[in-house]
């Protein structure tokens, strides 16, 4: 019984900590997801090269580079936000964003801002599609009627962006050439 209570308390505290995660606001009052990452062993050029690969290869379907300099990348992108019912769900909308990356020797920073939400609606064929082309800024507080639903959208977006940020950090920390080399290694079962 004690264990059950303990598990419940741990689960509850995890849930509470999950709820506390929220966007910061930038100088213009817009939601921003901002990270500075120390990357001691990597040069500015390597970081930039990997970031370019992330935008143009890994996320080529949902991101488009707008401008690239020798220290920075500006890209636009969209991500689909899901509505979950038990273990299944469906897309509830998409969030478009501006992605900014800046590199220096040994460290880099990136942020996502200008978050605009476009809700999806099921079309005549059972597919979820955008209801409009005009997005609503995520930081805009809705009326009371939709406050709960909007809070869910903001939370889902934060979780999705956090996942995106972690993937980006992992991508930049990984040497793709080394990874590809490892993949091609073969294991012989003849000798042991």
């Amino acid at each position: 019984m004690k264990y059950i209570i303990l598990i419940f308390l741990v689960a509850f505290s995890i849930d509470l900590s999950a709820q506390q995660k929220q966007f910061s606001k930038d100088d213009n009052g817009k939601f921003i997801y901002y990270k500075v990452v120390d990357s001691q062993s990597l040069s500015k050029d390597t970081l930039l090269q990997r970031a370019k690969s992330f935008v143009n290869v890994a996320y080529k379907k949902s991101m488009k580079a707008e401008s690239i300099t020798d220290t920075s990348i500006l890209a636009k992108g969209t991500m689909v936000i899901d509505k979950t019912i038990l273990v299944a769900g469906h897309p509830s909308g998409e969030v478009s964003y501006n992605f900014v990356f800046e590199a220096r020797n040994g460290k880099y920073r990136f942020w996502l801002t200008d978050l605009l939400y476009i809700p999806y609606q099921r079309d005549r064929y059972g597919n979820f599609v955008a209801t409009t082309k005009i997005g609503t800024p995520l930081e805009l507080a809705p009326g009371k009627l939709n406050a709960g639903a909007w809070k869910d959208v903001v939370n889902s977006t934060y979780n999705k962006i956090e996942k995106f940020g972690n993937e980006f950090k992992k991508y930049l920390a990984t040497d793709k050439a080394e990874k590809a080399k490892k993949k091609t290694e073969t294991i012989s079962t003849k000798k042991w």
């Binding site: 038990l86 273990v87 099921r122 939709n146």
Partner: protein, 341 residues
Amino acid sequence: MKKLLTAIFAMASASCALAQETTTSPLEISGSVDTYFKYDFAKNPLNGKTSFVTDHNSVSLGMIDIALKKKTGKASFVGELSFGPRGQSQSIPDAAANNSSFNIQNLYVNYDFTDKFSMTAGYMGTFIGYEVISPVGNFNYSTSYLFTNGPFQNAGIKATYKFSDKVSLMAGLFNDWNLYSATRGVSAIGGQLMVAPVEGWTAYINALSGAGYGGYGTIIDLTTSYQITKEFKLGLNAANYDIKDSSVQGSYAGAALYPQYAVADAVTIGLRGEYFKAKAYGTTAATSTTALTLTANVKSGGLTFIPEVRLDHNSDKPFFNKSGAIAPNAGQFSLAAVYAF
């Protein structure tokens, strides 16, 4: 029902577990439930000449609609079933006798050969027209004459090529309208050109020729909508249907305009103004109806309240007044609640 839910849950769990190891998308489950109250000003339920919302002075049911979708790699399926008057006896086809069956809204498989080219086969919501069976897909709760007289669904096989985000073309071969299996073979050919000239404006030019309502005929349809500002959206549907045999009832022409304005974050008000002409057939003369429908959508999360006032006019007097005599005008008020999940 319990077994069905268990099966769905098991499938969903399996797909979720699979999703952690592969790029397969999880099983999508969505749907809607709707109910309504309608009051006919002449207290006559026969004054409703379009689909659904048939009952007078009654809290009545629409339907429960459940859709499943799954995509694995380039292949996907959609299966969508509805239960309740809107999806059964009032929809076509009603699969079993005594109006006791369900209606398949969508049942098809799709394969994306490339990012631009895909093929779809099965039973699908029609590509013709502005309005659909599902109340979630419409702004107004009652339906237009153009919707009621056009096809609801088409079974067939179609190919779609997307030239760009602004232009795509669909062509396909179809059964008769609204039938799970063909009675006259795969005997209709259809196509759709989609153009999106500017951001927010999409237009579909549709054609379907072959076996349909009233024999063989050809329908040409324009369906377009333009989100002009964040608040204001304008939709238009115009169609013409000619049955080859002019002695058969069913040919029509008409147009409907759909201006909608969001007055608040959760409240949108819209008008549907429609002109509909049932064409002459045999010795019967043509007759025209104009209908004006004022609708509000009040949204709170997944729930939408839809109060609506509808006025219809036809100088040939197809309606009835309070005393039961024929009349040129009809009017109704309805309040619907639609929950989408």
